[in-house]
Each structure stands twice: as C-alpha cells, then as structure tokens.
Point group: C2
C-alpha cells in the first residue's frame, strides 16, 4: 500500500504538481521553501517538514478532485488546519501533499432557532466564538490556541480545553458533518438533527480521527446560550491531596464551568513574566482555578461558604474571587498563559488522563518516577484536573543539548505510560496520537482494538492515502 | 452468508440446542412455546416470533462462548433486553437464538467521585435511576418504558425520551463500554475516561447499532447531580404555529429540562381515562409541557413573566405551573400516559424528526398529506418538539381490519418519508430502524452511506450472525 512519495515511481514531482494545479484555482498550489516549511508542520518540533506541495482547495468539489487524484497517483495527503497540534498529526515529513483549508474559512449560515452555525473547516475557533457572542450565544470549546486553531482541526482531534467539565469535548458540539472519505465519496452525516436513530453514527468516527479516514469539508456546530456572570475563584491549596476534596466540595454546590489546577512552579513561571497580577501573597504548592455562573447572590454566597469550609478543613490556604470581568480575565491568565510562557523552555509535554477518582494516587506515582530518575529536571504540572486530565511538562535544563534532552524524556515516557496503563488511563487525553504517541498506542488501546481500527480505516481509505503514519505506523 | 436457521443444514435443531446448553448454566436455555413467544418479540406487532431457543448468559465469558459457537454453526443471534422496542430490532422471527440479558442485571459499582455506575446490560433503566437518586445523583435518560427497558437496549437504540433538550441522548451518558463483537472479541472501550484522544472512538459505533455489530456486556453510565426543584408548566396554545415562538421565548430565559407537546386529540384520550386531573378548562388545539429547575424565586418569576408575554402575544390561551411535586407528577401524566393510553387502539406509530426551525412547515405538510388521503383516520400528534422530534400516531378505526389498516398506513409511509427526505429529516428519531424502518432507510441515509455502514458491519461481524435483517436487509 503506497504511503508516501518515495513509493511513487515513474511520476516525477513536476508532473504531479502540474496535475495538482489543474484541480484547484490558479495560484493555489505552493511549492516554495517557506510555504513547505510553514505548512509542513504543527507546534511539535521533533520532525523536519518535507512536503511535496501545499494545495488550497476552495470548494468541496476541489477537495474531492484532490482525493480522487491522490488515489490514482497513490500520493499521500496531510490535512492542515491552524497547525497548532501537539502530536504531529498535521506534520508532512515524507513528501506528502498538504491540503490546507485556509481558503475554506467561511461561516455559511447561522440559525438562531436551531442555535447552529454551518462552518467551513478553515473557520478559526475564535471567529466562531465571536460570531456566537454577537448573537447572544456561545461556542464553549476553548483552549490556549483558539486564536489560530481551525474548526476542522478541532474536529479531527476532538479538541477539549478548559470548559470540558461543563460543556464536554468538541464531539458534543458537532450537529452534522460533511466529509470527503479517503475514497473520494462525499458523505452528509446526521444532517444537523438532534435525534436520528437510523443506523451507525458515522459522524462520530470522523471526530477525533486526525484526518486518517477523510477530510471534513463542512461542519454544523451547535451553540449554547451565553453564560451569565461568569465568576472565577483562584484558591491556593496546602498540598496536592487537598485538590480533590476541594473539587468535590464545590462540585456538589455549584455547576462548575471550569476546574483547573497548576503547580507552584507553573505559577512562578507566569509570575516571572511580570504582566500578570498575583492573586494573593500566600505561597502555596498548588493552585486551583474554578469558575461558575454567579446568576444569583445566593450562588455567590454558597461559593464563599464552600471556600470557608475548605479553609477550615485545612485544604485551602488562601483564595480570591473575581468581582468584575477584568478580574475574571486576570485570574484566567494565571492558567492560560502557562503553555505559551513555558514554550520558550523547550518543554517535553505529556497529556495524560485517568478517571477523576484515581487522580491523586496516579499523579503521586508519576511525580515520584520523574523525581527519582531526573532529579535535575524541572517538572511542571497543570491541567484540567476536573476532567482527570493532567499536563506533565518537563523543562529542558539550560545547559543540556536538545536532542539529548528528548532522548532522556523518551525514556521517561515508558515509565509514565506504564503507569497510565496500570491506572487504565489515556496516553493522550486531548492532544491526539499523531506521530508522537503512535508507538505508545498499545498502552491505551488493546492490540485487538487497534486491529479493528485499522480495518475501519481500510473501509474509508483502502489505498492508505489519508494522513498515513498518523495514529498507526505505515 | 448464512443468516438464519433455514440456512443451517446438516445440524438438527436438537443438536444445536444441546450444544448451546453446554455454554451456559444449567436451565439457562429455554425452548418452551411461552418463552419463545415472549422473548421472540418486542412491542411491535407486525412480526410473528419464531426463535429456535432463548439463552440466558450470566457472564461475559458465556456471551463470548455463545458468539463463538454461533460463528462456528452460522446461527443468527438476536439480543433481548426489556423488549420495549418499537422497531422490531429485538424480534426473532426466523429461527434465531435469542440472547437475553435478564440474568446480567447487576450494578457492579457506583463511584460518587466520578459520578458513574458500572452496569451489566440487563439493568433496568428505572433501577439505575433509583440507585442514582438514593445517592443524591440523577440518571437523566427517561421515557415511557423506563420501568422495563434495559440499559443494554437503551445503548443499542441510543434511547432518547423526554429530557433530551437538556441532557441529550443515551450516547452522552456512556462513559465506557465492554462489548463482545460479532467475531467474539471482547473490547473495553474508552475505560470510562472523560478525555481520551487515542484514535477512533469505537464506543460510539456500538451506541445505536441495534446489536448488529456485537453485544454490550458492561456499560459505565455517567450520572448527573440531582435536579433542583423541578417545576412544570402546561400551556394551551392557540394553534400549532404558536408552539415554536413559545419555545423560543422560554428557551431564551430558562434552562429547560423538557419541552414537549401534544395535540387536543392526544389530550382528550388521556382525559378519557378518568384518572388524570385536567390542568385547566380552556379547550386548546395544542398543549405544551415545559419543565425547568426553579432554583430561585427569580427564575419562577421569569417563567411567569414569559408566560404572560406569550398570552399577550396571543400564542397561549391558558396555562398552569406546578407548585408541588404532586402537581409536577400530575402534569407529566398528561404527556407520559399518551403512549400507553393509545396502545389499545392499535396505533400506527411514526417517529420522525427535523431540525427545530423546520418543524412548523414540516408538520403542516405531513398533517395535510394524512388528512387528504385518510380523512376518516384519527391522527394524534405528540412528542419532543424541543428536539424537533414528532410522534405521528394514526389510530385504527374500530370497524377496520388490522391488516387492512396496516396496509393503508404503509401507503402513508411513502408520502411521509418523502416529506422527511425533502426536509432533510430522520425517518426514525429515537425508535431505531430494526425491521420496521429498514426498507425506508434510503430516505434518511444515502446509498453510499449505507454501503459504508455495511462495510463496517462486515468488520465486526464478518459472518453476519449478529441480529441479521435489522437495519439492513439480509
């Protein structure tokens, strides 16, 4: 099954590019070095981009034409959205043709009765959020890269983020999908219906498939009512083990819209920026950011009473509650700026999850492993702890060579993932598998499951042209 | 591909039954006429039950043994839950072996931190609801047959019901699944995680698959916090076209937990029972039942103000709001008793949906078709209009022969489904396809989609032994 350019014999690159140009609008195939570099990668840094060309379809028909051509020529295709991925699922490192959705970026329809927006795949997440807001509605999937990530990519990775505890993943917000399968067929899946019990829900297969089954060419996204008087609390806890009782206490009283945590080291890195106000002076080993709709004074009172209960129990050392939108925004910066702030320290990122009840034991075990083997590495914890999702970040010591650092981290991987497996967790909670987690997939999915997944892929993509080498090895 | 008993040559029924008995506990294979009749059918009446035997596994291993044996002997298997289905998906009319989950009916674990319950497939929906309630939690999927339907069947049909507008379908509440595929493999899907981005979410394929891919042998169901001070309003509207503005008015102000409707004829049938109090005296052509959490006086006031607004607009003629749990229960009877009340009049049921914004135009068109062709038939409308889901019920005139009635109704089907197709709707919103909708599937799913569905089935069930003839023709 030919998978990449090296397997295409008899056709020269030039001929392929000439053919490709006939399938799209003039000027919509790029082969200059800058474009190949830019569109050939995502936010990961382990792979060297090396695509054959970048193609920019403007219509569903053009996407179909590209896929059919790729089947004839056995050329591998890689989808490209906002390229903010963290698993190298959108990296083209083997002479593939990158299919960018930058020119399919319109919201085609907004229906206020149905609370839906029909989006082309290249619509930026923030663009949809803003449009919803203008109409008094809300698109609740939100994360650090919302400003550049695209809806098609969100669907491909089933993006999660900071509001999952209340709103769930991207999956929950996809009312309907139009996809072009790896065979070039156009499928209109679910037709935006709330209720539709007419056989297998194929829509669900394409969500989180990382472009390995086909391309999303249109997505109808659900919108929610706008949240009312969002109010955040940042609490400093006495130790890690106090976080879950705090979650439990607040979860019982309020409908939380977020429950995030970060360690003192994560906090210190954001403080060192100098542009984020400190919430309070008491130093704490861990911090919690929680959010709820303070629709009544009564709810705000309950939040404060719960806070006081947590202080009395010795779980919480200090805390603050936002009294304005400005304060809300400032508190969120403490959490949201972490990822970008530490990106300058070449972090080795792991995105793991277990069920919420297992979090304390699991985190302690991972923490001990890393501390034992790499006492000189700075370890930062943060993440969506209300969903059981922890981001483990190891920062490169200044003197250490980048490659050596990654080799050492790869060694940690094995121990981390063995622990994930032991706790029945996920080696990738929300970043996807791509190429970075591909070789570790068996820690979260059984060999039989993987065989079934490969068989499903073969149904939609018999020639293996759709993002080969992602999720599974070629 | 052998599909039913008539294709099994050389083996006598007796030998098959003897073999089957070796796979389960003593006495757990039944072949008496009463059991064959009882376990061979669901709530539909079009098919004559004719299974070979009923088998009652008690463990996952026994289910695997049955499936492996069925593959060897090419015997068709039909899953049996609470047998409350309305599409003949659990009917065994061709010498199949029925696999009943009546003895796999335990809640194996309840985790209050994770808010999950690990259920065997035979757990009754109401049993799970009651268990959740005892723990201060809530299982929100609810419908007329909750008292006898089983969790495994709910998953097989992705059951919906009366709370979908707030809580979604069964799909939303399945944290993890253990399934035995048609090949006899045991898959543990998603491991109850909130976030898990490790390839295709196979769990989703089994939800709504009507047992055609495999059997659910364990399901971890999510629970929600208990709703607070649920309060219902029943409103009488001036005509059908007033219902959607009422929905829109309330939807903007309150987080609705239900928005149901029923026609005056449905209402009259329930009134005729004599055991349900009338909400008010004003006769109205249509009624709406809506529900919300009246957590504060302010919310109850907003509900009343919205009601007054609807009266001023001429949409609503009269209304009532529950002031106690007893009143809440009584108002719900107006809606919930319809299905059972009319079941004595041999109703021809259709369960169709469109997007909410298309409902008024769509219903008017269907109504006109039925009125034109069958002016002597009594047509009852009710359903989950807040989800775009309408139940069209045609009652058999007293003098008319049952078979003749069904033949006439089948003729309506074509016109109804053509209209469904025209409005991009679903021919089965929540009842599934089974055998009753099988031949109409193309009105909601394209031929290419159906080809992909069949190819997926072949991956999980290459010998076609799992509930053959359901969803697709054999």
């Amino acid at each position: 099954m030919p998978m990449n350019r090296s397997r295409v014999d008899s056709m020269t690159d030039r001929v392929l590019i000439d053919e490709l140009q006939t399938l799209v609008d003039p000027g919509k195939v790029l082969t200059d070095a800058g474009s190949l570099e830019t569109y050939g990668k995502d936010w990961t840094k382990q792979f060297t981009p090396a695509p054959l060309a970048i193609v920019f379809p403007k219509t569903t028909e053009q996407v179909q034409a590209i896929v059919r051509w790729a089947n004839e020529r056995l050329v591998a295709l890689v989808p490209s959205g906002g390229r903010t991925g963290l698993s190298a699922a959108a990296v083209a490192a083997n002479g593939e043709v990158v299919v960018s959705f930058d020119y399919m970026n319109q919201v085609l329809d907004l229906n206020l009765t149905d609370r839906t927006a029909v989006c082309q795949p290249g619509v930026i997440t923030r663009q949809l959020q803003a449009l919803a807001e203008e109409s008094g509605l809300y698109y609740p999937v939100d994360f650090a890269s919302s400003g550049s990530s695209q809806i098609g990519g969100n669907i491909g990775t089933n993006a999660g983020g900071i509001k999952v505890i209340r709103y769930g993943m991207t999956r929950n917000w996809v009312a309907g999908l139009k996809v072009v399968t790896g065979k070039g067929d156009l499928l209109e899946l679910n037709k935006d219906l709330i209720k539709n019990a007419t056989g297998y829900d194929l829509r669900q297969l394409f969500i989180g498939a990382e472009g390995t089954l086909g391309f999303v060419v249109e997505a109808t996204m659900r919108l929610d009512r706008a949240p009312k008087n969002l109010t955040a609390m940042v609490l400093g806890t006495s130790d890690f083990n106090s976080i879950m009782p705090v979650l439990h206490a607040f979860h019982g009283k309020l409908d939380l819209t977020a429950f995030e945590f970060f360690s003192d080291k994560s906090f210190a890195r954001v403080m060192a920026r100098g542009d984020v106000p400190s919430p309070f002076d008491t130093p704490c080993p861990f911090y919690v950011l929680l959010e709820f709709e303070a629709t009544t004074d009564d709810l705000a009172d309950q939040a404060l009473a719960t806070f006081e209960h947590c202080v009395e129990q010795g779980w919480v050392l200090d805390g603050v509650m936002s009294q304005s939108e400005q304060q809300l925004r400032n508190l969120w910066k403490l959490r949201e700026y972490i990822s970008e702030t530490i990106s300058h320290f070449t972090p080795y990122k792991n995105d793991i999850s277990v069920t919420v009840s297992k979090v304390p034991e699991f985190l302690a075990e991972i923490d001990a492993i890393v501390a034992e083997h790499y006492p000189d590495f700075e370890v930062l914890w943060y993440g969506h702890i209300g969903d059981g999702n922890l981001h483990l970040n190891i920062l490169k010591p200044e003197g250490l060579d980048k490659n050596e650092f990654f080799v050492k981290c790869a060694r940690v991987n094995k121990w981390v993932f063995e622990t994930v497996e032991k706790y029945n967790g996920s080696i990738s909670a929300e970043h996807g598998v791509g190429m970075t987690k591909r070789d570790y997939l068996t820690y979260s999915r059984s060999p039989i499951e993987i065989e079934y997944m490969k068989a499903l892929k073969a149904v939609f993509d018999p020639n293996g042209i759709m993002n080969p080498g992602k999720i599974f090895a070629v």
